[in-house]
Symmetry: C2
Subunit: 283 residues, 2 copies
Amino acid sequence: MGPIGVFDSGMGGLTVLRALHRRLPAEDFLYFGDTARVPYGTKGERTVRAFAEQNAAFLMSRGVKMIVVACNTASAFALAHLQDRLPVPVLGVIEPGVHAALARTRGGVIGVIATRGTINSGRYQELLAREIPASRVLARPCPLLVPLVEEGMIEHEITRQVVAADLGSLQGAGVDTLILGCTHYPLLKDVIGRFMGPDVALVDSAETLAEAAVGLLKERGLNRVGTHAPGKMAFWLSDIPWKFQEVGSRFLGHPIDEVQTVNVNEANWDGHLDLPEVREDNT
Amino acid sequence: MGPIGVFDSGMGGLTVLRALHRRLPAEDFLYFGDTARVPYGTKGERTVRAFAEQNAAFLMSRGVKMIVVACNTASAFALAHLQDRLPVPVLGVIEPGVHAALARTRGGVIGVIATRGTINSGRYQELLAREIPASRVLARPCPLLVPLVEEGMIEHEITRQVVAADLGSLQGAGVDTLILGCTHYPLLKDVIGRFMGPDVALVDSAETLAEAAVGLLKERGLNRVGTHAPGKMAFWLSDIPWKFQEVGSRFLGHPIDEVQTVNVNEANWDGHLDLPEVREDNT
């Protein structure tokens, strides 16, 4: 009955933790943000897989009962890989986003915006294509939105222009549903919503993921029931970023009091899991 | 008589390699770009030091005779640390930039633009203050310029606006010399030059650093003399970034044919150097 582990490349995953905590108030959560190596979205499959593996190993070493991969790029490149190898359930953010989009669309085009890594992985496109024709999917990388959000430039003229440049080709293309395929993007919901117009539904996978997590915990008998006290949240990072308290609290929706750090170079960091096949894959 | 090792957080250091190669055409160079963990400029001192240490250990394991830290943030946080511990000469980019700026200024204000890490380290300010009053130094972080350059958005309206926003407070402040305190910024020389006007000298440390390297090699008897064939350049990266050939060649000024990768998770990667004090410092 350990905590639920949530990892992300940095702080974006706090938007996912927020939704999880709201639905599962009695659960303890352990959040790990790999702020020393952020971003993942500009990096390749092997690198992201290796990082995801280390992050999962760290969470496992702290006794988590489930892992949520709260990063789209890591979900795209490493979810199946982790699910095959870990003894606890592992959930990602892509499948929930796809389900939410399919439930919302009224037969129009589904747009996907994400990091270059997530778009290049083709994962969203592949899952959507199982249910609808490929002609109904338009995927666009938005590489500058992550640094803009991390700088706290939410309602900023430059951000509005980047949104207009990156999403311009989605306007007038019949998009009725837009998947926010990066956990940083929900913070730009207003800017993106104004640009796309009121007829476009913006889909953020956090809520659907949280529902899936509730179901899975129940199914496996891992959920806390009865008269539990409110759960605790612990925050671990591999580097303390500039303005962490301010930016992190904005993501999470309430103040973050205490943060602990993990040294990514600690030799025993990935020594807690017996994942020989994994290592073979990545050398 | 091994190669000269040059490391950077990513590709920006290729602008430094370019200047080194021009002045030292008979030398071999081994470039390492830590593209798996880029950027460094948004990260803290401990993290950047630990990364710099691993990068230096990798170069040492390949038999380099000198190391150039071609990254301002790594120079700011880790240069003295590496110089104290490595058996080969180690050069950074900050001191040469300061010397070049002092040689150029006509008594006005010296501006410094760099990553947030470099500015927060206070290293430029400290070195300049040894020679001129603090009132003659204005330092500004420009956190979005790195992602813009990495996206290849050199002559782009958004880049011009970010430059105007970040450098606006330097206009009309009597700046006659501006230090480009990040190896990505020389690619934006035209945009920055147009914004600051023709009376502001832009200082890029690459040339001054290359001069210093020539002098140091000679002094230590490490330079290649006589009838050597033209030197070779080898490129190692920890991740192959998107559009590497295109973006990297733009930085280097000529085509990059072959690139090798290093897995940053390889256990023996930092095992080649005996740096016990270093590790103590960082855990």
